[in-house]
Symmetry: C2
Subunit: 541 residues, 2 copies
């Protein structure tokens, strides 16, 4: 039986028309070297229309042509966020921090036709632009010498010249909601980046979820400092959620150092923010050392990697700011779970919930797949790889078969942990780092944390090595503190009081230091290679 | 270009699976003569599964069979709300307050197969049941003598007998989101009731909107007294929104008198409620006369008809409860707009916004059609009939062509008013009551309000009468206060200081009293008839 409901698509032009009229007075502040420059949502609507006219009439953007951005968080980037999908084209946010060959790969793979670039990023783009085979036009936002771009053989335009005189309204097409709206590539540590293509529907639904109280709880009264880059997982959906709720946006542009962020909070009165833990760590140290008034800032959503509980406590106790832990990934739009404690909990009990990755909303179904691929219960005990499903979760990668990443239509996240009966996710390991021993999983992170708590140990990493009987077993690689000794037998004895006996490593090695990746994480791959190549001196207990 | 997003349907079984697991400890309180009886959301999930098994295996419910309810607000009604759509069947909430011939009409028109009835409503149902041609089974919830139902020739069952021993889980089918989930008939004052069929998608999206801060702003911490009947526009979507957010529900069952409602608030600690203005008027008088502690109740959404500003002030000043004005109709799921003042407004300025019908969310596009059908601007001045469009707005009536109610795919609401540039709706008239004079509209309500403010006037109604030159002109029908006189010329002179000259009525008549409808409203149709039939003595100025 058919319903009688209207078949109205969920799309970006609806968000734009809504936000720019009903919340016409809401503001977008962009940080500059001389303070904030400010536009209203009404301005956003008018300029998005001008941009769409320019892209169509001057640059020949048609159908689902890809329009890329190579930009910081600023009002012009937001104009592209809304204009490009609303006109039916596809926004591709280039991550300016990718390696040059990755950038070339993704611009070609996505078949970008136009690139919008911030003046301050011209030198960075110029280095890779000659390799962007499909790009015809480059549009420079703001100042900056465009010569290096023209040298790459592309038509170069000034953003403001293109917009000048264009009509301030546009007859946005009725784009079907399942059509592509935007795309973003994930930067895996191995292989080529993989493209995720968001639909109008997924972005619309995700925006509603972001605004809901069980997620970020946004209203017209909020002033959101959007630190998380717009080229990273759509800035966690905050720009679109602002249109839906009328929340004011504060865009830091390229001014991402702690002193500049504190100044932006002081100047804008931001009461909400979103950024990764590293940023908050810097801000905390800056505040502690140099002072600053962040009293307007009541809440910050922090994700991208696990938040140290000490960081949460420090901001709450010293600066009255509550950190809300969240989890997500490019493939999940990115929300994800958000760690609000259950209603009625307080104090330490509440804090214990807040340091987990949080609870999923109804739009993200979650389950755990155990070592043999069967689904294990959500009981807070059983460990498995997190798999997710839902209307804003990717079910594929763009033009890139990778069936290993999907399981009966669910996305395999590569994260390992537990889920409680009431839905709280706690992640412990990356799937590639757990040790699969005889059909059971051993958490390398748990063993490492225990070892590093031993007084004689400076650093420790635990990796899986092949074992004829158990398939894999743990190898403990330990760096001792200067002047300390601790034999393998002693450390094993110490661990045996903390973990089940069957998880105790038989193989031990001592290193001068643990090899690290370029971003400072333990390089487990290198430890495994050294073991396989017989370069390590190993004690077997 | 296709997106890579998963094609996961938005449907009721997802809400049910989510709410009954993640919010398993949230509660549903049902008022009884002896206090509250309480179930958890986990119980709801288990019993909904049992109900689905019973409907399928014992009563033969298949495909999109219609399962009707004839019930108060209670936990069993909620079980039907979630079980029936989740199994793929269609819930039809029978409005127990319809006239008998309307009930017979809608049960037959919807082709109901099963009716669930509260024991306390058996006598009311028994009067109409013999005429329910398609109904095969009646299921009695709670106690009550089923004999009168069996006398109608239907198979009669006890709800608890059917559920006993059934499995507490059910393999809910993957219902496409555009399939019918529930239906509700509107009771127009003329003609047969008209059916609106909600889809899984419309209910899901509507639930998200209800939960958003710009609408009701619901969380797990809320305790919602759901006074608005579940047979009336799906209880404003509150039951489904509770599953999405974990909010506790307080269901008043048949105990809807003011003393019982106050007791339910005291016993449940309800902090949020939804009901029509009449109910709040009764509660206010009861509190003022007899006392009562409603200090937990912070907010109430009030809709169904315009809220008198005095009622809003009284609750706020005397009982610390904020009334939030809202507008919607069965055809709009029903949300509609909600009247939160813009961020940053306070005091009288904020109150002026709060007494409007409020602002629409992004999911409800709104426009005004002027007297000649062209769209007039949203500028707070231009008057037109409100037309709405969106994913939870009906685009038709069930098996009932009524093209007059739609305009290029937009629903004509039959309400007339203005919309400001920032989206606030103010309704002034029903479309059928405005006077269409030479391509302009005259508000009969505005003329009536002015006339009734004159010291000599007890009551006044203004109706449209045919006019050879202007198509329609106003006829003022006045009832004078005892011992007062006021000639037509004097009243016209009085009005001329208050309204534009071209709106002044030429035709005046004096009545002993204004004829009223069965619910106490001015019966304009009767006045028009009396004029047309020459029964009124008319002065023409």
């Amino acid at each position: 039986m058919r319903s009688t409901m209207q078949e109205t698509p969920l799309n970006i032009s609806t968000l734009l028309a809504f936000g720019s009229s009903v919340y016409s007075r809401s503001r977008i502040h962009t940080v500059t070297a001389d303070g904030l420059r400010t536009a209203t949502f009404a301005d956003l609507g008018a300029r998005a229309a001008q941009l769409a006219h320019a892209l169509r009439d001057d640059l020949g953007v048609r159908g689902d042509d890809r329009v890329a951005t190579f930009m910081w968080n600023n009002v012009e980037h937001l104009e592209a966020y809304v204009a490009v999908p609303s006109m039916g084209a596809v926004l591709h946010t280039l991550n300016i921090r990718l390696y040059p060959d990755q950038l070339t790969y993704i611009a070609d793979h996505a078949e970008d036709k136009v690139v919008l670039v911030d003046g301050s990023l011209i030198p960075l783009l110029a280095r890779v632009l000659p390799g962007f085979g499909t790009v015809e036009h480059v549009v420079v936002v703001g100042d900056g010498d465009p010569a290096p771009l023209a040298a790459a053989g592309k038509a170069v335009h000034r953003y403001e010249d293109l917009l000048a005189g264009k009509p301030t309204s546009y007859d946005w097409p009725a784009v079907p909601e399942t059509d592509a709206a935007a795309m973003c590539y994930t930067s895996g540590t191995t292989g080529n980046p993989k493209g995720v293509v968001y639909s109008h529907r997924s972005i619309y639904l995700h925006s509603m979820q972001v605004a809901m109280p069980q997620s970020f709880g946004l209203t017209e009264a909020n002033r959101i400092l959007t630190i998380v880059p717009m080229f990273h997982a759509m800035a966690w959906g905050i720009p679109y959620a602002a249109l839906l709720t009328g929340a004011t946006l504060v865009m830091p542009d390229r001014f991402l150092q702690a002193p500049a962020l504190v100044r932006a909070i002081e100047e804008s009165g931001a009461d909400f923010a979103g950024a990764v833990p590293t940023i908050w760590n810097d801000v905390l140290h800056h505040l502690d050392a140099h002072g600053g008034d962040i009293s307007t800032l009541k809440r910050a959503v922090v994700g991208g990697s696990a938040v140290p509980p000490a960081l949460m406590s420090a901001f709450e106790e010293r600066y009255g700011m509550r950190i809300i832990h969240a989890w997500g990934m490019t493939e999940t739009s990115p929300l994800g779970c958000v760690s609000h404690p259950p209603a009625g909990t307080e104090g330490e009990e509440a804090f214990a919930y807040r340091v987990t990755q949080g609870r999923f909303p109804a739009g993200v179904q979650a389950r755990l797949a155990g070592p043999d691929g069967t689904i294990v219960p959500n009981d807070g005990e059983a460990v498995g790889e997190l798999e997710v499903r839902g209307p804003w979760i990717t079910g594929a990668y763009y033009r890139d078969e990778d069936p290993e990443r999907f399981h009966d239509g669910w996305l395999r996240t590569g994260d390992v942990g537990t889920i409680t009966g009431d839905g709280y996710l706690t992640l412990t390991d990356r799937a590639k780092d757990v040790i699969k021993s005889g059909g059971e999983w051993i958490s390398s992170v748990e063993l490492e944390n225990h070892l590093m708590a031993h007084p004689a140990v400076a650093e420790a990493t635990v990796v899986a090595v092949p074992d004829p009987r158990w398939q894999e077993r743990p190898l403990a690689a330990v760096v001792l503190r200067e002047g300390h000794t601790a034999a393998a037998a002693e450390l094993s004895e110490y661990l045996s009081g903390l973990i089940p006996k069957w998880q105790l490593p038989e193989r031990w090695t001592y290193l001068k230091e643990v090899p690290k990746t370029s971003v400072g994480k333990f390089d487990k791959k290198e430890v495994r290679r050294a073991y396989a190549d017989g370069e390590l001196e190993v004690t077997v207990l």
